[in-house]
Symmetry: D2
Subunit: 286 residues, 4 copies
Amino acid sequence: MENNIARLRITCPDQPGIVARVSNFIYQHGANITALDQHSSDPEGGQFFMRLEFQTPHLDVSRATLAETFAQQVAAPYQMDWHLNYAADVKKIAILVSQADHALLELLWRWNRGELEATITQVISNHETLRSAVENFGVPFHYVKIDAQDKGLTEKKILALLKDQTDCLVLARYMQILSEDFIAHYPNAVINIHHSFLPAFAGAQPYQQAYDKGVKLIGATAHYVTKELDMGPIIDQDIARVSHRDGVNHLQEKGRDVERNVLARAVKWHLEDRIIVDGHKTIVFV
Amino acid sequence: MENNIARLRITCPDQPGIVARVSNFIYQHGANITALDQHSSDPEGGQFFMRLEFQTPHLDVSRATLAETFAQQVAAPYQMDWHLNYAADVKKIAILVSQADHALLELLWRWNRGELEATITQVISNHETLRSAVENFGVPFHYVKIDAQDKGLTEKKILALLKDQTDCLVLARYMQILSEDFIAHYPNAVINIHHSFLPAFAGAQPYQQAYDKGVKLIGATAHYVTKELDMGPIIDQDIARVSHRDGVNHLQEKGRDVERNVLARAVKWHLEDRIIVDGHKTIVFV
Amino acid sequence: MENNIARLRITCPDQPGIVARVSNFIYQHGANITALDQHSSDPEGGQFFMRLEFQTPHLDVSRATLAETFAQQVAAPYQMDWHLNYAADVKKIAILVSQADHALLELLWRWNRGELEATITQVISNHETLRSAVENFGVPFHYVKIDAQDKGLTEKKILALLKDQTDCLVLARYMQILSEDFIAHYPNAVINIHHSFLPAFAGAQPYQQAYDKGVKLIGATAHYVTKELDMGPIIDQDIARVSHRDGVNHLQEKGRDVERNVLARAVKWHLEDRIIVDGHKTIVFV
Amino acid sequence: MENNIARLRITCPDQPGIVARVSNFIYQHGANITALDQHSSDPEGGQFFMRLEFQTPHLDVSRATLAETFAQQVAAPYQMDWHLNYAADVKKIAILVSQADHALLELLWRWNRGELEATITQVISNHETLRSAVENFGVPFHYVKIDAQDKGLTEKKILALLKDQTDCLVLARYMQILSEDFIAHYPNAVINIHHSFLPAFAGAQPYQQAYDKGVKLIGATAHYVTKELDMGPIIDQDIARVSHRDGVNHLQEKGRDVERNVLARAVKWHLEDRIIVDGHKTIVFV
């Protein structure tokens, strides 16, 4: 992990000169661009997206000044929606999970091995099942009982735990539906893993649905959570080959491997500021 | 290609002793089993499926006698649904196509190279576009105009061309919907390639649908055609990775490669008697 | 996991009637065949390989009698090399590891989740690094110091620990070369994961070699260990796509995911008696 | 295909300000950047690589002036090795082939369908086998007999045919070794498809080698040809899964699909100026 880099993500109407303007600004303030990706939905009248990584040691101004100057001199004239993140500001992740351990443990392992640029602040579950697995990693585990009569109360308890501890919330096979109000606290920052190749088999029991249909591939989809269930912007997907020999339990077993890899990639890309949400789709600069 | 082999496919209620009974029968008639695959949906009260390949040079009886004896001595007591095919009886394929050439040419090429155990008897199209491409392979090309007022008439013309020339009908991106009556002439023998990962994006313009949804993988599905559009038993599926950089035209370009490979595999498996249809699913012994 | 099944693996000279003879034998002793795979290197004068899974509850004789009778009545006349395993005899695995945790943890996790039909009896390492990770799973951890002056002594200590506790020994990134004498204790039962697509980049530092060569795919290979380093029968291989952006450290990171999946599959297949070693190659019935 | 774009590829010592300098230059001459990729082997003292696509309709100077000005004002001060290509200058491809048709036909098809930005000027072969297949596409076919006594003479004849007709030479399974002198005529412009996952199984009969070794994956490698046989910079690689069931002929059949796809991708990337050769490796901006 690199501590001396900053990442700038930009969305704006496309027009000539954006790259020149932005790269000049960065250069003039003493930073070296080490990665640059861009995408235009249409050079004539489309949207322009850019991600830029630069080294910060020789910046000639403070972060605050850099941001303010950029806002005035570059972002405003080009009508930019922009985000500037510093790798040194390690993101805080919280994980919501139910009873299945595979997606959770994949994240904890990779994090423990230094593959995820994050602090995992806590794991919250509606079951006690995974407490010791989590605590073995030195990560706090919180059990929050689902109050079936008052889901709002449950969500309030979770929000209280998340407060000031959460830049990104990962649903690592959390089998409860979160309310629109809840999600509004973390726009484009709640990542879910759905155990199907969306939009196929949205909703409950996707492996059973896949089995009943007789598909030859099963999939998993990592997406940002929005108010519409299983319909948020897709970050990544992958599949595994299956056959008539695979019962629902085998689909689940093969699916677990796909789920954990897809979720881990999506979280990694989010942490590295590689994703720009564009309406109900994503731009992923990898 | 091997000319001295026969392939037996069996479906029956599972019970102990089926493998022993069938393999004994084959052995006692002088044949050597060179491949055997089986599947049971459930050893207790499930369905049993088997595919067996054996060498025919030392058979001690005629084909007719073998079939008759098998029917009486083995198939009847075990309530078998069975098919016995000889590789020497090369299957006759006809291909229906519209204007896109990729799926068609993939089949013609592989066939020309000896990879498909078939005679391609003809290509029928509702456009003249691909005539010379087909005739270059020495395969007859028939143009059948779609009569929008009387689709039944169009189908009658096609059926007349197919008559006695067709064991398997391949829809290599044929952009017309065939009637239930038409399909009934070739049960479990009409293979279609759908340009999406079914059941996602069934119906028209799947690549546009995929683009609008922002998926990160596109797919193709080869399936037997049944009366319900895009819902027949799936034979094979595959996918390609796409990104925000891919417009609809790129999805189509990448999709073509997936489509032609998936269709070619499905046709190959059908020709080699590797598929058993089980309701609205398939067993594929590969 | 299924406790009521047995698996029979057979290698013998090919000739007609083997399937019939074996399946009859099984049937006559009251067992139901639930899986059967076979392979012949050449129907004329080749080797025949078969794997058969059958249910044991209605067997009419003891295990000892079954084995004895099979040996006399079937194996001897057909000159069979054969192995009969019962799923209820859960295999004992020991794992050798150095400092990298990924391959080890993948096995421990899958085992903990019930995906591996085994008892993991112990983990032995030449480092203390992974002790708590292992002990968290309730598995004994043994540190065995490498005596650089006397490698034979080190191996003796390891053999003493393994004794009576080991049907299969897994090298989950164990960075020491084992002697021919050592390996002779566990013929076709020591599984190694090599971090390259063998035979490319055998020997030390395969990721550095791959980086220097500029390959666009990296791989991993699980194989049985033989006296020739990195040359034993290959069980499984897989790859990941890389690019010019990937430094050696990225190759290692991407490689870890490939290594752990390939090793886990190979171990699973070994445990399920799916592998027959054929000289310096393997037959894997999956 | 887009006719109004130009592509600039740059290699130079890394230092701050390159992106700003280049993008300003492009902008000031009235062009809109539509794609930009860069890579640095090391921000401190490494090599910098960049590929830039820009739209040309509003360029304020002639091509010659643009190139001259760029050379003086940008390339010289930054010590750049650079290439500027215009999509409207469609590249001329010649193909060398022996008897196997699959790689050749894949290129001809894709080209015929408009997927390759090229003019295929001719196909040259040391066999007559593929004449009609080539001529059906309206492409000239030349037979050049191999003079075993005087390979130099053969190469002279080929060079005479290629003269002024060739920006890129594709070896689509051409089974003759070309001399160092010959290759020197087309530096970084001769693309070969090798039918193995290089560096494994370099040299003759790689599928036989792969079969003998018992690998579980076979591969293909597209690379630029250099004087060292099968050792030139790798452009792309891919693999297919194989098993003990696959004889050498099956490896060849499966391998053909891999070969043609890998070669087609490599040629496409070359034509789109996506590749920068960096010593014995490649940077591929896709």
